[in-house]
């Protein structure tokens, strides 16, 4: 196994750790702001590490494509995080219309 | 070979899970989702059958893929129609 492959596998493993941490935060954290914090931070970095790790093992064209995908995912992740945070902020400020009528406990 | 039977079993179990949701409900929206899960199970059965030539080193069956592709678009349009009817039903009492 060459040095390049070793680096690639290390980066992939690190990316998976970030994904796991983010998913754990999404499941375990108490309110929506900390959940957003966990999932967006960890996923952006985790996906970036996975992309770099895979790029080390692939052709440069595929690496460019994956880089583009990472950029789009980062952008949409940032935007959706802002929108969700704003929604829950407004819900907290004036909870007139609950999003869900079910048995909220 | 093993993964072919694994996907076939998943398709059958998805049919079961969908029928459970369809029977149990209780909301109509969940019953519509359950119908979609049943549809996904049937599509998966067909796509698994289309996967069989791949096990023998040939390309997958394109006729079944085309049928499922048509089915996907028809399923989403039927769901949209069902949800429009549901919206009318829910708007009625007020």
């Amino acid at each position: 196994m060459s040095i390049l492959q070793l680096c690639s596998w290390l980066l992939l493993a690190l990316g998976v750790v970030f994904f796991l941490a983010g998913s754990l935060g999404l499941l375990r954290f108490a309110d929506s702001f900390s959940r957003l914090h966990a999932v967006t931070k960890a996923d952006t970095l985790g996906l970036g590490l996975v992309v770099i790790g895979l790029s080390l093992q692939s052709h440069w064209r595929e690496a460019c494509l994956m880089l583009l995908i990472w950029l789009v995912v980062m952008g949409s992740g940032a935007v959706s995080c802002q929108l969700l945070a704003r929604f829950s902020h407004e819900q907290q400020a004036n909870p007139v219309e609950p999003a869900d009528p079910g048995q909220e406990d | 070979m093993l993964s072919f039977y694994l996907y076939l079993a998943t398709a059958a179990l998805l049919l079961g899970v969908g029928s459970l949701g369809l029977w149990r409900g209780p909301e109509l929206l969940r019953r519509i989702l359950a119908l979609n899960v049943i549809g996904a199970g049937i599509f998966m059965l067909m796509v698994s059958l289309a996967y069989r030539p791949v096990l023998y080193g040939e390309p997958a069956d394109s006729v079944l893929h085309a049928l499922v592709l048509t089915g996907l678009v028809v399923a989403v349009s039927a769901t949209a129609f069902a949800l429009a009817l549901l919206g009318r039903l829910l708007a009625r009492p007020q």
Partner: protein, 303 residues
């Protein structure tokens, strides 16, 4: 071995997501889990060597179904709760049926039993395209696609009979500008999918579904005021797919040597398929977008 591990994880995930969506106590959880289920189905199609289906499912499952289900969820806001239903009777019955079904699917031999696939490969040269799925959809089984466009039109006409007012949120500036930024990319991607469909996975259905999700995103952000059934051009384009298909069928019947309805002459097949697919893409995109967002402003005056 690694692939089998992936299969086991993916199948377990699919079944868990579907089961949790069916059994979750709150409807909003059910809808969220169902959307995640759709995205995972796209992964399963990619694994089963059906990239055409994966593309369509990703556009439909991640884009359109989410918008549809959350719209329906918003209408449930004033609805009273339901009593908790019994679990055991349906569970026992469904478990028995599933066991029978499992037993019967394991009887299916792994040896492929039809030679349809080989006949498609045999006639691919005279179809006008080099991607077998597109050849089947637009040439060998063109009837299916024609009737499928008709089904879409019927669904739209049916949904138009039951218009209901949608509580529309004024778009936040961030989401409006992000949707504007995304829309040229979606347009470019769907045109690319349409063009590539002749030789590689892609085609009218995938391009139409992708374009429809782009239209829905823009419409939900208060853009595209022209996207309405009241607009004559939109009505024409919704019908354009069917009309182009039928016209192409009739025109090719008039050519010498053509006796079968919806079979294209070999020399012109590629051009005819591209033309029909272009109109079909526009029709599918507009029909799906109108089905999802409908007429948010007000009820039409004549309804």
């Amino acid at each position: 071995m690694g692939l089998l591990l992936f299969d086991v994880v993916l199948c377990a995930l699919l079944l868990t997501l579907a089961g949790a969506a069916m059994l979750s106590r709150q409807l909003v959880h059910a809808v969220t889990l169902f959307i995640a289920f759709g995205v995972m189905m796209a992964l399963a199609w990619a694994r089963l060597q059906a990239p055409d289906l994966a593309l369509a499912e990703a556009a439909i499952g991640a884009g359109l179904t989410g918008a549809l289900c959350f719209t329906a969820l918003a209408r449930y806001a004033g609805d009273a709760g339901y009593p908790k239903p019994k679990l055991w009777l349906p569970l026992v019955f469904v478990a028995a049926v599933s066991a029978l079904l499992l037993y019967s699917v394991f009887q299916i031999p792994a040896q492929p039993t039809t030679e349809l696939s080989e006949r498609v490969a045999e006639h691919l040269a005279v179809s006008g395209v080099s991607h077998p799925v597109t050849a089947v959809l637009l040439n060998f089984r063109a009837w299916d696609t024609l009737l499928e466009l008709l089904v879409l039109l019927l669904a739209l006409l049916g949904a138009r009979q039951v218009p209901s007012q949608l509580p529309l949120h004024a778009g936040w500036s961030l989401s409006v500008s992000w949707s504007r930024l995304l829309s040229p990319m979606l347009l470019l991607l769907s045109a690319y999918l349409l063009w590539r469909g002749a030789a590689a996975p892609g085609g009218a259905f995938q391009a139409g579904a992708l374009l429809a999700s782009g239209l829905v995103i823009l419409r939900l952000n208060q853009q595209l005021a022209w996207l309405s059934w009241q607009n004559f051009a939109v009505r024409t384009l919704v019908l354009a797919g069917l009309i182009a298909f039928v016209m192409a069928g009739l025109a090719s019947l008039l050519l010498p040597g053509q006796l079968v309805w919806l079979s294209w002459p070999v020399a012109l097949a590629g051009g005819i398929i591209l033309l029909v697919e272009t109109f079909a893409t526009l029709a599918i995109a507009l029909t799906l977008a109108l089905l999802v967002v409908g007429e948010p402003e007000q009820e039409p005056a004549d309804a």
